[in-house]
């Protein structure tokens, strides 16, 4: 039959009214919450009835449906809303399954054809009027991305854990000739769900189409992203994140392997923490990482040893005898506070040492020319034993100290003093030594630079220490 525009419009108008009523009801539903469930349905029924009467004349079926629905509701009494909705859907299903062709006819009629006016054809009135109304009321914003199966299947399997779309197409696809129609229906359903029960239960029902447009989408936005994020897993039987320890595929769930896994995770955590501590730890390999860790610990212990030897050499009476105890302590504490700021990345670079002239009366005697030979000698000694190297230096009135120390000494306590420039020579075990004395600053006349690569440090040749500012 040919669609007559007038009938279409009339029907559309009636349906639009019903759709508007549906929308209003939906909004009320969202606002009201689950308690209004029954009222909402009543409204729906009442609102739709005139449309049905007006448009389709298949009121008998509609009232039959409504009454059946109410029976179900009455029967279930205080049953949780999902039951009600599942009933609703089951009814729909029932109608779909058994009245597929009449429904199809109905849709076709409502879409493009004048109403047949037949009683038996108006099965499933509840959904179609809503869906049809979408055309007139501008609900076209709700796009239907997926077929009805997604909606129905979860209901049917009541809290099923699958998000797959079962193949309902055989039964229902002929019914879906309009995407907008489905959209409104789905929106209706979803708003029912949302309003009537806690959102958590339906997280795996997601309606991406509700992201845009209509008021139902507003309430759905909060839920849908959560649902969408929670349910993208493929494969059958993906468990929602309820169990705390989730067994992956192929892994046994017995306590031993779980404990094993936990242990491995803990070890990995600790290795990561260690990796942050140890400088230049770019290796991801576990064995080499352990090597680095071991080397670093050894290096630090060696550093403590050297510092103590330095202190032992420097703690000769002349150095500290001049100070009173309080001054000593106070100043050092101040220095400790100051040192925090600029000493973050120094320790790991302390592979470079610098011998400065000690106080032992060798102030002016640390002539530049005398250093070259001493450098070699010290380097040779350092390779074997640090103690003898220190003693050798001490005999010469020199002492060995890290470069950072020397630079800090020259620029200590924020006095405006020219720091020792980076002109510190390097003595490399492997390469030929380049002797150079950095007796630069007139303020630290007794400082002459002799840099020796620490035996335990990294092997790079050209590290010229930036001067450290102790502000």
């Amino acid at each position: 039959m040919q669609p007559s525009s007038k009938e279409m419009q009339g029907m559309a108008g009636g349906l639009a009214a019903s759709a508007v009523a549906a929308h209003i009801a939906l909004q009320e539903l969202q606002n009201g919450g689950g308690a209004d469930h029954d009222d909402f349905l009543d409204q729906m029924m009442s609102g739709l009835a005139p449309a049905w009467q007006m448009g389709l004349g298949g009121y008998d079926e509609a009232s039959l449906l409504a009454s059946r629905f109410r029976q179900h509701q009455a029967a279930s009494g205080g049953s949780p809303p999902p039951t009600g909705k599942s009933m609703l859907l089951q009814l729909n299903h029932h109608h779909y399954a058994h009245h597929a062709s009449p429904q199809q006819q109905l849709l076709l009629q409502s879409m493009g054809q004048p109403p047949a006016g037949g009683g038996g054809d108006s099965g499933g009135f509840l959904p179609p009027p809503l869906s049809l109304g979408s055309r007139g009321s501008g609900d076209s914003g709700l796009l239907f991305d997926r077929s009805r199966e997604e909606v129905d299947a979860p209901f049917k399997s009541s809290d099923s854990t699958t998000e797959k779309k079962p193949s309902f197409s055989a039964k229902n696809s002929p019914f879906y000739s309009s995407k907008e129609a489905e959209a409104l229906y789905n929106g209706f359903e979803e708003s029912l769900q949302r309003a009537a029960q806690a959102p958590n239960q339906h997280q795996h029902f997601h309606y991406p189409q509700n992201h845009r447009g209509a008021p139902p989408a507003a309430a759905g936005k909060g839920q849908v992203p959560a649902a969408a994020s929670g349910s993208p897993s493929t494969g059958g039987g993906a468990v929602p994140p309820r169990p705390r320890v989730r067994a992956r595929r192929g892994q046994a769930t017995d306590p031993h392997s779980i404990a094993e896994r936990l242990r491995r995770e803990r070890i990995a955590e600790r290795m990561k923490a260690l990796q942050e501590l140890v400088p230049n730890a770019n290796t991801t390999d576990k064995a080499s990482m352990l090597d680095e860790i071991i080397d670093y610990v050894k290096f630090l212990q060696l550093q403590v040893l050297s510092m103590s030897r330095l202190g032992g050499a420097a703690a000769v009476a002349p150095l500290v005898a001049d100070m009173s105890s309080e001054v000593f302590l106070v100043s050092v504490q101040k220095a400790i506070v100051a040192i925090d700021h600029c000493h973050d990345d120094r320790t790991e670079d302390c592979t470079w040492w610098q011998a400065g002239a000690g106080r032992g009366g060798a102030d002016g005697a640390a002539a530049n020319d005398g250093l070259t030979a001493a450098e070699h000698q010290v380097a040779k000694l350092l390779e074997e034993d640090m103690g003898s190297a220190m003693q050798y230096l001490q005999g010469k009135g020199l002492c060995l100290m890290p470069i950072s120390l020397a630079s800090a000494i020259s620029s200590a306590t924020c006095h405006p003093r020219p720091p020792i420039p980076g002109s510190l020579s390097q003595l490399n075990r492997r390469t030929a030594p380049s002797p150079h004395a950095a007796g630069d600053a007139p303020s630290s006349p007794s400082m002459s630079a002799l840099t020796v690569q620490s035996t335990n440090g990294g092997g790079d040749a050209d590290v010229s220490r930036p001067s450290r500012c102790k502000d």
Partner: protein, 158 residues
């Protein structure tokens, strides 16, 4: 895992706690240093003095970590028993290439105080804390040296 870090870059580390432990370490170490300096005469050997300083350094490390850590407890035990404070510090005589995973854990156990009585997981955790404490101690000693030397050349003007 209680991670008390001495480095400013660590994420779980309130600054207050940082300074507290550092100050404790510093004051302990300085007092020990001063004691050593007072009791040392011109006839004391360089080696003896440096050993005492080293012992003082490890003692202040252990005291700053307290009894919270297994390594600090082991270290305190070692110090109190007046045993000779020894650490494997062979410079370049160890045969490195032969190291495998098991050996590495063994080597690490020898380095970290209290190591032999820990399982691997705990060993890693203790190593991390030990490294942090060591770095703090080294910095502290460097600062001390700074101050001493600066005073030697430039007496402080209050």
């Amino acid at each position: 895992m209680e991670s008390k870090s001495f480095t400013t870059g660590n994420r779980d580390n309130p600054n207050t706690d940082l300074h507290g432990s550092k100050n404790m370490m510093a004051s302990h170490f300085l007092r020990a240093l001063f004691r050593i300096q007072q009791t040392s005469t011109s006839s004391s050997s360089f080696a003896g003095r440096s050993r005492r300083i080293r012992r003082a350094a490890y003692a202040s490390m252990a005291y700053s970590a307290g009894a919270r850590r297994a390594w600090s407890r082991a270290l305190l035990r070692k110090l109190r028993s007046r045993a000779r404070l020894r650490f494997p510090r062979r410079l370049s005589r160890t045969a490195r290439p032969q190291r495998r995973d098991m050996d590495q854990a063994q080597v690490l156990r020898k380095l970290v105080p209290g190591g032999p009585s820990m399982d691997y997981c705990k060993l890693l955790e203790e190593t991390a804390d030990y490294i942090r404490c060591l770095t703090t101690q080294v910095r502290l000693m460097q600062t001390v040296m700074d101050s001493i030397s600066s005073y030697a050349h430039h007496p402080m003007i209050p």
